[in-house]
């Protein structure tokens, strides 16, 4: 467990210095742990576990947009779990339940089985439809059609810089919409 957390910190350090492959690996590595914790939190609140994927995606978006608040000299796991706890409490509150989030939900890094058992997340997909058309097209191309930034730029007749801007704005407005709903 200790080892894995050190590995995360190492990956995040590479990620902030520009290694997007390390960033991808890190997000993939933390997701099962976040999923397990979200399920535990939902179970404790008496909610069905099929919402866990929405919570996981909510956490991943916040991690992404707030990663500049991580201190590269600090371990990654406490920062990650603080965001995860915050997002879990938020989403349980939005669902109008009394909230009991046990600190231990995010204290252990026990991964859960893959997402197959839960329904696919719907909140991000639903909010995607309400984005401005350019942002939506770019997000759809990169997320759903797995196109690269370069291919997306060619397909939509945009510059690569404009695709990057639309991508980042799209992710930021998705997060804002999820928070306000």
């Amino acid at each position: 467990m200790r080892e894995r957390e050190d590995e995360w910190t190492g990956l995040m350090r590479s990620a902030v210095s520009g290694d997007s492959a390390a960033y991808h690996r890190l997000l993939k590595a933390v997701t099962p742990v976040l999923r397990a914790a979200a399920r535990r939190g939902l179970a404790r609140a008496g909610q069905p576990a099929d919402q866990s994927e929405d919570i996981v995606q909510d956490i991943l978006l916040a991690v992404h947009l707030k990663r500049h608040t991580w201190d590269a000299n600090a371990p990654f796991a406490p920062w990650l779990f603080a965001i995860a706890r915050n997002k879990l409490i938020d989403s349980l509150r939005r669902r109008g339940r009394r909230v009991f989030v046990n600190i231990d939900d995010f204290a252990e890094t026990i991964p859960s089985e893959p997402a197959a058992a839960t329904a696919p997340a719907s909140e991000v997909a639903a909010q995607l439809q309400s984005l401005p058309v350019r942002q939506r097209e770019v997000l759809q191309s990169i997320a759903v059609e797995s196109a690269s930034i370069k291919d997306t730029a060619a397909k939509l007749a945009m510059s690569e810089g404009a695709v990057r801007v639309a991508l980042h704005r799209g992710l930021a407005s998705l997060t804002a919409k999820l928070r306000e709903q």
């Binding site: 916040a62 608040t69 938020d90 997000l139 990169i142 997320a143 991508l167």
Partner: protein, 212 residues
């Protein structure tokens, strides 16, 4: 959207670099301070006898106290802008301006005074003080909230209260140049009430706008 797809999308955006919270907060506060200073010079202005007042240590102490409040509140609010941050010992920083003010009161008590204590405490500007500090702090409060919104505070209301403290500290620094009441007793009473008001507004606003 599948989580794997989202992860791939986030990784595609990894080249995007956000500036640190401290930088955004600094720039926002500079802009807010410009607005507050313009408001100050357009309405109140510096007191006419400022050149002689500068030789009065109690006049100077006002700036030491208000700046100490602003600086310590900036430090604490920056700390609290991180998701895993706990308040813990950081709150002690806020005792620095309080300690300075208490030392000022103690010193004044030991010196012979022309005016009785209650007269010094009540002063002649309390109403302007209680209006000017909150009004001058509004642009700064908005700026502080914009800066802290760039972070990820775990406790939005608390971070908002600190935004209120820091903006009241900066606004009081401006106002202190106008006010002719220099007694630390006056400062401890009226400046504190004004600061508490701004801090409450900050907490209320923060609980809404500082959630991430």
């Amino acid at each position: 959207m599948q989580t794997d797809q989202l992860i791939r999308t986030l990784a595609a955006d990894s080249a995007h670099r956000a500036p640190p919270v401290g930088l955004v907060l600094t720039l926002a506060l500079l802009a807010g301070a410009a607005v507050s200073a313009a408001m100050f010079f357009a309405t109140l202005g510096v007191r006419p006898d400022v050149m002689t007042a500068m030789h009065n240590p109690f006049f100077d102490l006002k700036f030491v106290v208000t700046l100490a409040l602003a600086i310590s509140a900036i430090a604490v609010s920056l700390h609290l802008s991180r998701p895993e941050a706990l308040l813990r010992g950081w709150a002690l920083l806020l005792l620095i301006p309080a300690g300075l003010l208490a030392a000022g009161i103690g010193t004044e008590m030991m010196l012979p005074q022309r005016l009785p204590m209650m007269t010094r405490l009540i002063g002649s500007n309390s109403r302007i003080c209680m209006t000017a500090i909150p009004l001058l702090s509004l642009p700064l409060l908005a700026a502080a909230l914009i800066g802290l919104r760039h972070g990820a505070p775990a406790r939005p209301a608390l971070a908002g209260a600190l935004a209120g403290l820091l903006s009241a500290g900066l606004a009081a620094t401006l106002y202190a140049a106008h006010c002719t009441d220099d007694s630390p007793l006056f400062v401890a009473t009226w400046y504190t009430i004004a600061t508490a008001l701004v801090s409450a507004i900050g907490a209320l606003a923060g609980s809404r706008v500082l959630r991430y």
